[in-house]
Symmetry: C2
Subunit: 446 residues, 2 copies
């Protein structure tokens, strides 16, 4: 790959490392190189060959157990029996599409809407977060008549042409739409301001002015309310409120991309945007929605969605099918029955405390921040200058992997460890993470 | 909806019909109206509430059995036990993504590639046909440096912004890309020419000239090799060969959209394009690939795909996950173990013969055509003038529904019954279809 991409290229396996692999792993990497598209990337210099998952744990082919600190897809825990059971039951009974009546999509929608502000009253379903964001952008364009979209400087919103064109995290090989504008994310660690909300709102306002001077009509702001690929920026809660007001005053649409922060992840609220006290016009959701079964969704205000629906039919063959909806129902039910939002808040706070304890002994830890079980740990070479240490972060990933802890990095400098385990992650797992990190930093920085 | 859309609006339930519904059905339609996006469309003036499926049959809430003559998603048959078993087993064991090694994606890819020409040697996986076509178009643009795409006049290729912009079947509300060109589909019933291949190639050649005069560089031709939404146009086999040559001579990419004709549907070949003796540069696949589990794919020549892969990372969270791949493997295995391609050829021929028998007694049947279990039956008000009878086709759909036969229409005039049952469709089912159609036409035209 010619261009650096912060979300895709870090700590990837590369063919020059093949000699160091055991024969079975090497055989699998060679098969991938031969038959899969060149865009595929493996995590780690020594890729992991997984064969089993349960709860927050994964096992490789040699029987070794790993702690999954990265995957919010299996958000209830890997292979959660409630989802497996729901999928098996529905797949054995009926699987069709939305051109026929089926109650599960309606029951699920009623339930989903109770988690959202009352203004957000219409749901549609697709299969991936990319599809949800692609549709959300089309809806914003139709309702405003504009095509100017604002995203953050290291945003990632999807793999379709439209969503890729507002995903600078894909690297310099990916063209950004000329009508789009990139704004710096509200990074409480790196931005020196007494009021981060006002600071961010000013950037959004400037971007609107800038695009309008260029003759582009403003369509909306598309943001992940925890700014995951911008480096995991949880706080302070509320910092999106003024920006949302600016967007609305300018006639634009606020799209909350909840693919990462949604479904109880942040602990403080069921949805990431709710932490900021805003009501978006469109909410998109994906990854954890079916605990691994491909399902995504878009919820919007009727009047916003109608501008699109009145003109263009939308039929997604697999979207909202009874099996995907059964999986999604099981996820919502389990989040409640297992109290996972409260769990995320409590265990996330414990994890933060433990990691901050580690920071007192390791100068390289510049910042530890998070909301619930979505934590960013920033590695720096100089705590005063906040100099990002990307090389150290990549080496730490490898050392963690050798100690059975799987995760990855984020942020414009690629130096933020992104800790986002299945919500099954428990108090007893914290020591594994902190010990591994302690050892990794000791090995690498002493 | 303000604009007619041939693929989405036909025989839809509309609220003015609500009074005629039984209370339970009415309650479900009202719930949909209230909570789902306005783009959703229900089949039939009296929508069907399905609760169970098995093989080629579906059951509604009152216990009534239907013959499914429309769904190629449940292509092996509804709730095929081999797929349910594979999904349950894998979902209970492990479900992750392509950043870790897993053998199922590799085993499946090896198997899939054996069904394709040797030049097509690289696979990628997504969740929907739209995602596969969106990526295929991006690949074509990158490898050619152009963005001029040719599609047929009533084509449908997907729901993303990019694929919608080359999907005129979505109706006049959907903007078509200014760089795209629409060509008439090779319709052996309506086009009076001794050489349909040369006729179609000329249209493609003219479209290339036209776009180049407008300063648009040609990227490629995207075609469903059976032209499903253009009215189901199976023959004569071979008619795509000259057009493919024209595209290649002009430096363009041939993309075969196999979402509908693929996976043994046409009986004559495993892939629709193979009937025409061409080797596309990119093949996209979807609907039947996982028998209802959301999975889609793109297979391409290495040198075509590399132009994209070398510049842009592509990661589809759910694409190629172990559960989707397990479902896809079960589908390929079952197609072979149950001999479904041969079955499709044999039973499709029987069905064609039976329907042609019916045509001798019903003047309204203008044409019956098909390849395997993909059949189009064209209704006309005048056999000599070939006048399309859309109103009759829509009424026939309703009459068939009342007789337990579920299907829909296609084609630029919306007058072609599209008969595309699960491949489980058997010889013994033919009488149900022909009797229902006989009765429907007798009621409606005598």
């Amino acid at each position: 790959m010619s261009a650096r991409s912060t979300i895709m290229d870090d700590n990837s396996f590369r063919a020059e490392h093949a000699d160091a692999l055991d024969p079975a792993t090497r055989a699998l990497t060679e098969r991938r190189e031969k038959s899969l598209g060149g865009s595929y990337r493996l995590f780690y210099r020594r890729p992991v060959h997984l064969v089993r998952g349960e709860g927050q744990y994964l096992w490789d082919a040699s029987g070794r157990r790993y702690l999954d600190m990265y995957n919010n897809v299996a958000s209830l825990g890997h292979c959660h029996p409630a989802v497996v059971e729901a999928v098996t039951r529905q797949a054995s009974t009926l699987n069709t599409h939305t051109r026929y009546l089926h109650e599960t999509i309606l029951d699920y929608t009623d339930d989903l809407l109770t988690t959202l502000p009352a203004e957000l009253d219409r749901a549609m379903y697709m299969c991936t977060g990319s599809e949800a964001n692609d549709l959300a952008l089309r809806v914003a364009k139709f309702v405003t008549g504009g095509d100017g979209v604002i995203v953050t400087r290291e945003a990632y919103h999807g793999t379709s042409e439209l969503t890729s064109s507002v995903s600078p995290a894909l690297g310099s090989g990916q063209p950004i739409a000329p009508t789009a504008r990139l704004v710096d994310a509200p990074d409480a660690y790196r931005v020196d301001t007494p009021d981060l909300g006002a600071w961010f709102a000013q950037r959004v306002s400037d971007a609107i002015d800038d695009m309008e001077r260029a003759g582009t009509r403003f369509a909306g702001l598309l943001v992940d309310s925890l700014f995951s690929s911008d480096g995991v920026l949880p706080g302070p809660a509320g910092y999106l409120r003024e920006a949302a007001d600016v967007v609305h005053r300018a006639g634009g649409v606020v799209i909350a991309d909840e693919v990462q922060p949604g479904f109880a992840r942040t602990g403080e609220a069921f949805w990431g945007f709710a932490r900021h006290g805003i009501v978006p016009d469109v909410v998109t959701m994906g990854k954890p929605m079916g605990n691994g079964i491909p399902v995504s969704g878009l919820v919007a205000r009727t009047e916003v969605l109608d501008a699109f629906s009145d003109r263009i039919p939308y039929f997604n063959t697999f979207g909202g099918n009874p099996v995907s909806m059964a999986a999604a129902r099981a996820v919502l039910d389990t989040i409640r029955s297992e109290g996972l939002q409260e769990h995320s808040a409590a265990i996330g706070a414990e994890l933060l405390t433990a990691l901050r304890g580690l920071a007192t002994r390791h100068e390289a830890i510049g910042d530890v921040r998070g909301a619930g079980l979505f934590v960013g740990l920033e590695l720096v070479s100089d705590r005063t200058a906040l100099t990002p240490d990307r090389a150290l972060a990549l080496d730490v990933l490898e050392e963690l992997r050798e100690r059975g802890v799987l995760t990855s990095v984020a942020g414009p400098h690629g130096n933020v460890l992104k800790l986002r385990p299945p919500l099954a992650f428990a108090s007893a797992d914290i020591a594994w993470v902190t010990t591994a990190l302690d050892e990794a930093l000791t090995v690498l920085t002493s």
